[in-house]
């Protein structure tokens, strides 16, 4: 297997500079989890300048597009309307890596580049990811159940860079 790049959160701008489409990475550290239900709410908080009310620092963060439930975690399609619509504004708010699956639109790829962030694809391997997850914490919007905002502590989640610097792996 080719060389795998180790990435630890929070992610610095220099790390993003060095990532290319197709790079294989291991993600470690604290990451946030959210999907259709919660991401529009966080976008709204960002638009209203209320992110300081969120018990999470988005600067240098990773957002994993997943529910968090007793069944575990695994990527949902990042091209779902409400999820993909969150990628540009949350990148502007400081998120550096969006973790999910599926092709995203060219305008989203360009927005990632504009806000110096990347998109990575993670295989939907729930049973393996469970062994790589050591902590789980509910951060916000508990009324959303499995779709609330969660924070996980993870060790070497495997992923492939799917979009970076204006390029997408799906277009090549």
């Amino acid at each position: 297997m080719e060389q795998v790049i180790e990435i630890t959160t929070p992610i610095a701008d220099e790390v993003i500079d060095g990532l290319q489409v197709g790079d294989m990475v291991y993600l470690s550290g604290e990451i946030l989890c959210g999907r259709d239900g919660v991401l529009p709410k966080i976008v709204k908080m960002a638009e209203e300048g209320r992110l300081d009310e969120l018990n999470a620092n988005l600067t240098g963060s990773v957002i994993f597009h997943t529910a968090v439930s007793p069944a575990g975690v695994g990527p949902t399609s990042s091209n779902k309307l409400e999820i993909e619509a969150s990628i540009a504004p949350l990148s502007q708010a400081g998120v550096k890596l969006h973790l999910g699956k599926g092709a995203i639109h060219p305008e989203t790829v360009q927005a990632l580049d504009q806000y110096h962030a990347v998109y990575a694809i993670i295989p939907p391997v729930t049973a393996l990811l469970g062994a790589k997850t050591s902590e789980q914490e509910l951060v916000a919007f508990p009324e959303l159940g499995m779709e609330a905002l969660y924070r996980l502590k993870v060790d070497r989640y495997p992923a492939i860079i799917g979009a970076a610097h204006g390029r997408s792996i799906y277009d090549e």
Partner: protein, 286 residues
């Protein structure tokens, strides 16, 4: 005849196996794909999915966090009888299986409107996920056999049931299926897929044939039409997770039902994800 408690226990264990275990023919299909895949990243994805299946089987834990909606097919032999009490026991076994797996608690509560817009909240109980209606068919064997399939949300988004004007040419229908499949697999994100196809006279019949195709299909045995669909979709270079490569589709399972004298065929295509059909079967008669 099995008593209620025996049925409940067997259905529970069958559901857990469906949500956590690859059958041998699926494991073999992945091994064949890994051996022939030419894209190193695609090969890595295939190997990782197979490792995940081994871990899930060992732990008896979900293959995917979208643990799926239980879809049930009941086969009934000529000398067997299905009672309302047995159906109630099957339903209870499903509920216990969802709690044991554990399934993702994704049942939506509330009235019709609340369930549509998801404003009624989520049922925190894994067993709050209702199974789909049970499909019943006859079998030549003297048994009652239950197949449980766990269907995820991604393939449901990309599935399609629609009419095809066949122009008295089978190839026209196959071409349409291949076109639908290329689009669906490309958008799914969770390839390699297993394509499930039902061809019938109505949307209900085509969908039920699609379900039966998954129950009857084997990765070790493909008809000429199934092999052609698989080969042509694989030529599209979508690959595992859309990362390009030779393995967009592992196999096609197709069931063609009775057809009407008409220029139209109703085709149901479900691009099952890399884990589906997530099927396990059990005999409920002694």
């Amino acid at each position: 005849m099995m008593n209620d408690a025996q049925i409940i226990e067997k259905v529970r264990d069958t559901l857990v196996a469906a949500g956590s275990t690859f059958r041998d023919d699926k494991k073999n299909a992945y091994c064949r794909a890994i051996a022939t895949e030419s894209n190193p990243k695609a090969k890595w994805v295939l190997e990782t999915i197979l490792q995940n299946a081994q871990a899930a089987e060992q732990q008896r834990s979900p293959l995917c966090d979208d643990s799926g909606i239980p879809h049930l097919l009941l086969e009934v032999g000529e000398n067997q009888a299905v009672t309302g009490r047995m159906l109630a026991a099957i339903k209870e076994g499903v509920a216990q299986g969802l709690r044991a797996l554990p399934g993702r608690p994704m049942g939506i509560m509330g009235d019709d409107s609340h369930r549509i817009d998801q404003s009624g909240g989520l049922n925190p109980d894994s067993a709050g996920v209702e199974p789909s209606p049970i499909l019943i068919r006859q079998t030549d064997e003297d048994v009652i056999r239950l197949h449980i399939m766990m269907f995820g949300g991604g393939p449901a988004i990309r599935a399609k049931t629609y009419r095809v004007f066949h122009k008295h040419n089978t190839q026209v229908v196959l071409d349409e299926i291949v076109d639908w499949a290329k689009e669906a697999v490309g958008l799914l994100g969770c390839s390699p897929c297993t394509l499930a196809v039902g061809i019938g006279r109505s949307h209900f019949e085509a969908s039920s044939l699609m379900l039966q195709a998954l129950a009857d299909g084997s990765y070790d045995k493909q008809s000429e039409m199934e092999a052609e669909i698989t080969r042509r979709v694989n030529q599209s270079n979508i690959g595992p997770l859309g990362l390009h490569g030779d393995t967009s589709v592992l196999a096609t399972f197709m069931k063609v039902g009775p057809q009407r004298a008409s220029g139209v065929r109703i085709v149901c295509l479900r691009p099952c994800c890399c884990f589906e059909p997530r099927i396990w079967s059990a005999t409920l008669s002694e």
